[in-house]
Symmetry: none
Subunit: 244 residues, 2 copies
């Protein structure tokens, strides 16, 4: 599992986009959905690791949707609701949801829950996010997350822009795993590529090009950021992580 892919289901556009953006800022790929049909479409279109499902979906009912989804799939689901009454909560659990959280919730608490559920669901996967990781080494390069500095093999600090740094981090967290443009864009919260809002999408290509020009010895023959034609890009070297 490269980057967790979450579905944010809420019929209120504002809430939906806010949640989506917040999750993206925290390293997840978040895909906004407004209806059950949307959910099914997304699930059909690709891997989904977790669904954040609002209980009050206008005319549709989140709990019922949850039950129906669970009958077919094994996707982890967190129910979100403005109703915190006990029976509502119980109904949530009985529907098979993995967790239940009441609005208004603390954003960090939401993240903790999301991570907890993902972790539980993940057992088999080898890719773990260690939030305490502070330094990454790869091919002689060093990235110090705390200072947000990139040091070349020659020991020189290289200035990367915000986006470039973000891109690098995404790859460092997922070495040897090909990432699609959509995944990268979602992780970086780039307006343009994936998600629901359309832009006309070569932003990631250009960004990769810029990063290459700064960290590849021969940008024309990339040794680190390799192109996976038809798919996306991969960081093709081992990454060593150090704690803080």
């Amino acid at each position: 599992m490269a980057i967790p892919r979450l579905l944010v289901v809420d019929d209120d556009t504002e809430t939906r986009m806010m949640l989506t953006q917040y999750l993206r800022q925290n390293g997840f790929i978040a895909l906004p959905c407004a209806s059950e049909a949307d959910i099914r479409a997304q699930i059909g279109a690709g891997r989904i690791d977790l669904i954040l499902l609002d209980v009050m979906l206008g005319d549709e009912n989140g709990v019922e949707i949850c039950t129906r989804l669970r009958a077919k799939q094994d996707v982890p689901i967190i129910l979100v609701s403005a109703l915190s009454a006990d029976h509502q909560r119980m109904a949530g659990y009985e529907s098979g949801a993995d967790d239940y959280i009441a609005k208004p919730f603390n954003p960090d608490l939401l993240l903790a829950r999301v991570r907890a559920v993902l972790q539980r669901a993940r057992r088999s996967s080898s890719l773990i996010y260690r939030r305490s990781v502070a330094t990454f080494r790869f091919a002689g390069w060093t990235y110090d997350a705390k200072r947000d500095e990139v040091i070349s093999p020659a020991g020189v600090q290289v200035a990367l822009s915000r986006r470039e740094t973000g891109l690098l981090k995404v790859f460092l967290a997922n070495p040897h795993i090909p990432l699609t443009r959509e995944e990268i864009a979602a992780a970086l919260d780039v307006t343009g590529e994936g998600g629901s809002d359309e832009g006309s999408g070569r932003a990631i290509d250009v960004l990769v090009g810029r990063l290459r020009s700064k960290i590849e010895q021969t940008p024309k023959e990339p040794k680190l950021l390799r192109t996976e034609r038809g798919t996306g890009y991969v960081l093709a070297v081992d990454v060593e992580t150090g704690g803080d």
Copy 2:
């Protein structure tokens, strides 16, 4: 806040010490406690950033303790319990705990929760400076809160204006945490940015620029006060705090 100080409350000696040791190995200051009396003593004795509270405390009841503590203090609390039944969980949340974790838990998950709660506590309250902290050291600099003096790495005192000092304090209280202009403006009570009255908002930018010109060696390439494009600013170095 230099190193988070945690209270580990559990009446079972073995569990208590194991947890304490584990947290210490992971960079926290962990103080074992066996009773509510202990907790109060520790809180009285000095800053406590988070309490890990076992729900089953022999004759005492963790949830009740939690409620009582919350009534008086604003210390973040994570409830730990062997009971994972739903109603227990709910009682935990209703008691005002910041999070809830069931035994047996995954150690990494525990760490993640602890960090999440600490981070949140920092975000919400850290714009307030702790009275007990008198000196801050960062990147060779020293800020003496009592005398309100800033000393450069070379040992020279640097004159900062009131606003500049205020800005510095806000960052010192929140190292490595990106702050938005709104947050900063709110903390400084600047008329202009976030508040309610509208001004035309570049006050914080300019203020940051002024502070940079006084404390950055190369203001053009800030090492301390970094820009987070699209977000705000971060203090990108560790801060060591000293008591009074």
